[in-house]
Amino acid sequence: MLEIKNLHVKLEDEDKQILNGLDLTVEAGKVHAIMGPNGSGKSTLSYVLSGRDGYEVTDGSATLAGEDLLDLDPEERAALGVFLAFQYPVEIPGVGNMTFLRTAVNSQRKARGEEELSAAEFLKTIRAKAKELKIDADMLKRPVNVGFSGGEKKRNEILQMAMLEPKMCILDETDSGLDVDAMKLVAEGVNALRDEGRGFLVITHYQRLLDHIKPDVVHILAGGKIVKTGGPELAMEVENNGYAGILAEVS
């Protein structure tokens, strides 16, 4: 599904290299986790995949189902099926959450040559999905993420993911700032979307989210590349020994 080869990324405005030859393949139907110390480049990877400005790819490639992602605009990547649940969801005063979601869903459908959802169909779907994530009608009406608590913002990200039904879900520290109950809710939302045709890249600093979203493969990112890959037991190792042990071992 997602294939990243030898990815080198630097900041556009600064002479600072962040990713240094990252290789990663996420197969359809699988959940891959990326763990790594702060500042190792986890968010950068998620931004580069989703098309944010400010980064320059100096070498390597990233494809989704064979399509080159790196030359595409963010909206084109989204229409192909890339979705990023942001580490810090953005507040947009003046744009209603519902209007935003409907515009997003229909923009993607249009880009793929599919028929747009009618207002009634959209409402029915969003109500059902919002209910599962315990998102009330008021949150849907409010401006995007404005005045939302940390947990509400993360649940709102998962709601967007559920509505957009992407092929490749990238979750950037979705567990940060969540209490145990909120994390369970978010994890249930993610697990409900697990599907043969869909890949997941779950970025996290801690192991605890992975208790709820069971990964198939775990990678350790350090210094801008994957330094170790293993099964769920690798996450336990991080939990027990911290990153220092693993980093010492690979260097």
């Binding site: 605009d73 963010p74 909206e75 229409a79 969801p89 003046g94 744009v95 515009t103 997003a104 957009l164």
Partner: protein, 426 residues
């Protein structure tokens, strides 16, 4: 004080090009206004109040021609159940207008009043304009009082069942229209006035609004989409105890528009909201100049102005809140913001507070900014194309001003126009 020679010459030239309409019961008011113009002189480049806006084309004896704009859409409020009053190049057009009778309101033409000896409008015409000349001179408004060819007098005594819609039509590329409207809202009465349409090549409009205790008036106007117009408008409002005045102005296009609003809160617990949203592209200069005086206890005023500017457009905001001695518990709010869609456009703002009471809450803020890149990326990452995402954020920027309109149907009509303007520029 002697006027500077240049100013004197310009003022005399303009006055010489105009002739006083028949006066009737308004004759004295017109004469007094002529004297005011002569004393003040018309605005010039060096006047502090005209620091950001060049007045020459508004004061010149000769009108600059302006192409008549042909719109590809129906006039703004055509779908509304309303009482329509049409002015073509500043002249009342009976055929195009509805019958002027409506329960709860009495409507007369200023031109008709001028042939009468007695009319209620005599006590309002030019009165608020004259009051509004201090502490800042507004000579174009005095010029208007003196020479207005037409206009409408609206006496609201009840709650008319539908809005009164003043529709302006521009048909002559050399038209130079001066219109003066007076509105009196009686105690407990409430009405909505709508204004829309390109009025003339050059348009000088004055509206005097007197709201008695507990009266309410909603004013929504839509200026545009004519590109070449030059307009100076003045709104003078006087509010009694527990009265409410809410005004919203949409301005789309226009080489030069100066909208002045002068509001006096004279009765306790009165509320005045003056809001505006403008969108300009290229040869566009829009100036909102607002002066709100709190002269009673526990009154609320809001000034909310938003400007979207692109391709070298200019926006100006001069807004003042004056809280007089004794005007305790004043709640004054003022915000003026511009969204610059490129580096060529500019926003010039001069917010002012002058407070002589100690128990008041007054806040003001003014900002200039571009589209929020973080928000833009967020929208695009969800699949919204960049043009559409930019439009969504632009509408969001304007929302605080548009939300000042109370009526949902009117709000929707305004938003539709804004969407149209944006989509034509994708």
């Amino acid at each position: 004080m002697e006027l500077a020679d240049v100013k004197q010459t310009a003022t005399e030239a303009r006055l010489a090009a105009l002739s006083l309409p028949e006066g009737g019961c308004l004759a004295a008011a017109r004469q007094a206004a002529v004297s005011r113009v002569q004393t003040m002189g018309l605005p010039g480049r060096r006047d502090e109040y005209w620091k950001y806006t060049r007045p020459e084309s508004l004061t010149a004896a000769e009108v600059t021609k302006a192409a008549v704009f042909t719109a590809d859409e129906a006039p703004m409020f055509d779908e509304f159940d309303r009482l329509k009053i049409v002015f073509v190049d500043g002249v009342y057009n009976a055929e195009a207008s509805d019958d002027l009778s409506l329960e709860g309101v009495q409507i007369d033409r200023i031109a008709d009043i001028c042939s009468q000896d007695i009319h209620w409008a005599k006590d309002l015409y030019g009165v608020l304009e004259a009051r509004g000349q201090s502490p800042v001179a507004r000579p174009l408004a005095a010029l208007n009082t003196a020479f207005a060819q037409d206009g409408i007098a609206i006496h609201v005594t009840g709650k008319p069942s539908k809005p009164i819609n003043l529709v302006y039509v521009h048909s002559d590329e050399a038209s130079d229209a001066i219109l003066h409207h007076v509105i009196r809202v009686e105690a407990g009465a409430e009405a909505t006035i709508l204004e829309n349409g390109p009025a003339a090549s050059r348009f000088n409009k004055c509206m005097e609004i007197d709201i008695a205790d507990t009266g309410k008036l909603h004013l929504v106007r839509a200026q545009g989409r004519d590109h070449e117009r030059r307009a100076a408008t003045h709104l003078f409002a006087r509010l009694g105890t527990e009265s409410v005045f809410k005004s919203f102005t949409l301005t789309v296009n226009g080489i030069l528009t100066r909208n002045e609003a002068v509001v006096e809160l004279l009765g306790d617990d009165a509320i005045a909201h003056i809001a505006g949203a403008c969108v300009g592209d290229g040869e566009f200069h829009h100036d909102d100049t607002v002066f709100i005086t709190h002269d009673a206890v526990n009154c609320e005023s809001r000034q909310v102005f938003k400007k979207v500017l692109r391709n070298g457009a200019t926006g100006v905001f001069q807004g003042k809140i004056l809280v007089k001695e004794g005007a305790q518990k004043t709640d004054g709010y003022q915000i003026s913001q511009s969204l610059l869609l490129d580096d060529d456009s500019q926003f010039l703002a001069k917010p002012e507070l002058e407070i002589y009471a100690d128990d008041v809450i007054c806040s003001h803020g003014s900002t200039t900014g571009a589209i929020d890149e973080e928000a833009l990326f967020y929208l695009r990452s969800r699949g919204v194309p960049v043009a559409e995402a930019t439009d969504l954020l632009t509408l969001a920027f304007l929302a605080e001003a548009v939300e000042e309109i109370e009526d949902g149907e009117i709000t929707a009509a305004i938003v539709a126009r804004l969407e149209g303007w944006l989509s034509r520029r994708r």
